[in-house]
Symmetry: C2
Subunit: 400 residues, 2 copies
C-alpha cells in the first residue's frame, strides 16, 4: 500500500482531501517580484504602518505581563486572560455591540477564529456564502474544511442582498453559513448599508444560516457615522475581532464573540487545537490596550485618513480614463477596476519591474475564473504619503 | 430550515459532525473535585514544576526579543523564527536525530502540531493506530478529524508490536497512520525498546503508514542511555517536539520536524490556521534556550529523578498488595494498575475528599470501555517531595 512518488519518496497512503486547499501560497507567489526593481513600493499589505505600532507602550505592557510569571507560564485560561476578555467586551459594548466577557474566546488573531468557526460548522461539501471579492485567507480557511462557495457580488453598499437571494434560490446545496466583512470590506473597501444589514440578517433567519461577521477594520473609520455591527442586531452572529490592525499583527491576538449556543464549543475547539493563546502575550495586549487603545486608534485614524486622501487624490490625478475605484470610509484598502483590456495578473510583473506591487483581484475570488481579472487591491495604511504618491505615479505610467 | 433547540435558541442548520469530539472537557470534569478538601494534592498535572520555570532567564530573553520590535510585530516567519529553527535542529542533531532547520515548522506547542498533522493526513473515517492508553488530548485532536482508532496495548517495552500486527490484520479499515509517544509515554511512562522501534518502522513501511512520533519528554531521562528517536531511524517520521516540558507550557512553543514531502504542506497548513506563532514569543524562547537549555534540562533531570524516586519508594511503602505500577526511566508519569475490584473513576471522588486527585485511566483510551477502569496516572514532576509522600499516603489510605 506504500505509494512511491516521482522523487522516490515514500508517501503516506494518501493525504487528506483537504490538502487541495493548500496549493502554493498566494503570498509566496509574490516573492519573486521583489527582485524586479531596486526600490519596490508595496501596496500589497494588509497591515498597520510599522512606525505606528506602539512599541514603547507594548514594552511597558510586556513588563507588567511578566510580573504574573511563573503562574502565567503554566497551562491555563483556555478562553483567554480574563481582564482582556473584559476589556474586549467593554469596548465592544461601548461601541454599541452588547457583549459579555463570558462570550469572548481569545484566539491567535481572527484567522484562527475563522478556522475554529469553520471547524464547528462545516462538513465536507457544505456551502459557504461569501462576498465576491473577499478575504484571501478566509477562502483558504473554508476550503481547508472542503467547503464549496456561493459568491455574492458587492457594490458601493456592500453585499448585494438581491443577488444573495438569487444565489440562495439557485443553490444546488443549501449553504450553511454566510461569511461577511460588512465594514470596510477586504478587498473592496465598501461597507454594508444599514438597510442591507437588516436584510442580510433576515435572509439568514429565513434560511437558517449562521453568520460570521469578520470585523478587523471596524474601528478604523475616517468618515461618517458608525454602522451597527451585525452582532449588535442579532446575538446569534459569530463576531470576529482582532488587535492585528489596531495594535500589531505579529502578536497574533484576536477573538470571537460567540453566540451562547456555540460558546462552549468554541472553547473546546480552541483547547483541542492549541490549548490556549500564549498567556504572556494576552497579558501584554491587555496592559497595552487598557487606558490607551482608544486614543491610539484615534491617532491611527488621523494618519490613515490622510493617507487615504493622498491615495484617492493621486489616483484621480494620475490614472487614465476608464479606471474606477472605491472610496472607502475606513479600513485599509481601495479596490481599482481596470478597463476590460487590462488583465491585472499580467499587469503585475510589468508594474513590479517599474517599482510597484499591488494584489491582483482574481486572488480574492474563491473561483478565480469568476472575477477579479480586471481589478486590483491597493493598501494605503502601510505607506507614507510620499510613497503612495510615487507608487501611484509608477502604476499609472505602466497602465498608460 | 432554522432549527430551534430546547432552549429556544436558533441553531445553525447543523453543526459539523466533528463537534462530537468536543464533548465535555476531561479537564473541566475535574474542577468540581477541588472543593472536596481544603488542601488538595494534585497528581493530575502534565507540567513542569512551577518553581523550576526559568523566569529570570525568560525575562532576560524577552528583553532581547523586544529589541526586534517593531519589525517582529508585523506578520512574518510562517515557519517560525529562523534562529529558533536552527537551535531546534542543532539540538536534535546533537542528540542523534539529524534534522535541518529548513525541516522545522514552529507551532503553538505540539498540540497544534498534532492538529496540523491530522489535518494533512486524515479524511473522515480514516483510522489511526494509537497506544492504549495514550495522550488524552491527542485522542481528541484525531477525533476532531473524525478519525477512528485502532488501539494497541503497551507493556514495559512500549507498544506491543505483535499486537500491532494483529490489529492491522484484523482492521476493517486499513489505518492511515500510527501516533506514538515512544519515549516515557504519556500516561504509561514506558519506552519503546530499540528492537521494537525498528519493528514499528518496518510495520509502517510494509503497510504504508505515516508515523507521528510525539516526543515531549525525550530529554527528561533519569536512568539509562538514550534510545534513538524513530525520526533518527527513518526520515519519513513526523517528529513533534515542544518546549512546554523543558521551559514553560504557557508560552505555547513547539515544533514539527516534517519529512520533506510534507514540509511545504505543514507550512501552508500553519499559515492557513493562524498565520504564524507570536514572533515575540518565538524570539523569547530562542534567547532563553541559547547557551542555557542544556544546563537547565540537566537541572530538571536531577530534581525530577529525585521526585520519581520518592514516588516509587512511597508507593512501595504505602500501597497494599494487589497494585502494580510502571517504573519509568524518564518523563513525568507513573501508571498504576489497581486490583480488578477497584474502579479508578469511582475511587476518584473518595480520593479527592481525602485530599488527593489523580487522573483515572479510562480517559486515556479512545474508547473508555476498552480499558483503564482499574488504572490511574500519577504525575511526579509538579510536586515537591514532601507533597508526593503525603499525597501517596492519602491515596493509599483510601485504597486500603
Amino acid at each position: 500500500m506504500s505509494v512511491i512518488d516521482h522523487t522516490g519518496l515514500r508517501l503516506p497512503a494518501g493525504l487528506a482531501r483537504r490538502t487541495a486547499a493548500y496549493g502554493p501560497s498566494f503570498w509566496a507567489g509574490l516573492d519573486s517580484l521583489f527582485g524586479l526593481h531596486p526600490d519596490i513600493i508595496y501596496f500589497g499589505g494588509g497591515v498597520p504602518s510599522q512606525e505606528l505600532i506602539p512599541v514603547e507602550r507594548l514594552r511597558y505592557a510586556s513588563d507588567l505581563a511578566w510580573a504574573d510569571a511563573p503562574a502565567a507560564l503554566d497551562y491555563g485560561e483556555v478562553a483567554g486572560y480574563r481582564p482582556l476578555r473584559h476589556l474586549i467586551a467593554d469596548r465592544m459594548t461601548a461601541q454599541g455591540t452588547l457583549v459579555d466577557a463570558g462570550q469572548v474566546v481569545v484566539t491567535n488573531g481572527s484567522q484562527q477564529a475563522i478556522d475554529l468557526a469553520a471547524r464547528l460548522l462545516l462538513n465536507p461539501g457544505d456551502a459557504v456564502v461569501v462576498e465576491a471579492p473577499t478575504f484571501i485567507d478566509a477562502i483558504r480557511s473554508f476550503a481547508a474544511y472542503e467547503a464549496t462557495f456561493l459568491e455574492v457580488p458587492v457594490d458601493q453598499d456592500g453585499m448585494r442582498i438581491d443577488a444573495l437571494r438569487e444565489v440562495l434560490r439557485g443553490a444546488a446545496i443549501p449553504p450553511k453559513l454566510i461569511y461577511t466583512i460588512p465594514t470596510f470590506q477586504n478587498p473592496s473597501g465598501t461597507s454594508l448599508s444599514l438597510s442591507r444589514r437588516h436584510e442580510l440578517l433576515d435572509v439568514a433567519r429565513e434560511h437558517g444560516l449562521a453568520v460570521i461577521e469578520d470585523d478587523p477594520y471596524g474601528e478604523l473609520r475616517y468618515d461618517g457615522d458608525p454602522l451597527p455591527s451585525l452582532r449588535s442586531l442579532d446575538p446569534h452572529v459569530i463576531y470576529l475581532g482582532t488587535f492585528s490592525k489596531t495594535i500589531a499583527p505579529g502578536l497574533r491576538v484576536g477573538w470571537v464573540a460567540a453566540p451562547e449556543h456555540l460558546l462552549e464549543l468554541f472553547r473546546m475547539a480552541k483547547e483541542g487545537t492549541d490549548i490556549h493563546t500564549a498567556r504572556i502575550v494576552t497579558r501584554t495586549v491587555f496592559h497595552a490596550a487598557e487606558g490607551f487603545l482608544d486614543d491610539h486608534v484615534a491617532g491611527l485614524r488621523a494618519v490613515y485618513r490622510a493617507r487615504r486622501e493622498v491615495l484617492l487624490e493621486t489616483l484621480a490625478a494620475e490614472m487614465p480614463a476608464g479606471l474606477r475605484w472605491s472610496r472607502p470610509d475606513g479600513g485599509f484598502f481601495v479596490w481599482v477596476e481596470l478597463p476590460e483590456t487590462i488583465n491585472a495578473s499580467e499587469l503585475l510583473p510589468m508594474a513590479a519591474a517599474n517599482g510597484v506591487i499591488f494584489l491582483p483581484g482574481s486572488g480574492f475570488y474563491p473561483n478565480p475564473a469568476t472575477g477579479g481579472s480586471h481589478a486590483l487591491r491597493l493598501n494605503f495604511s502601510a505607506l507614507p504619503e510620499d510613497r503612495i504618491r510615487e507608487g501611484i505615479r509608477r502604476l499609472a505610467a505602466v497602465i498608460r
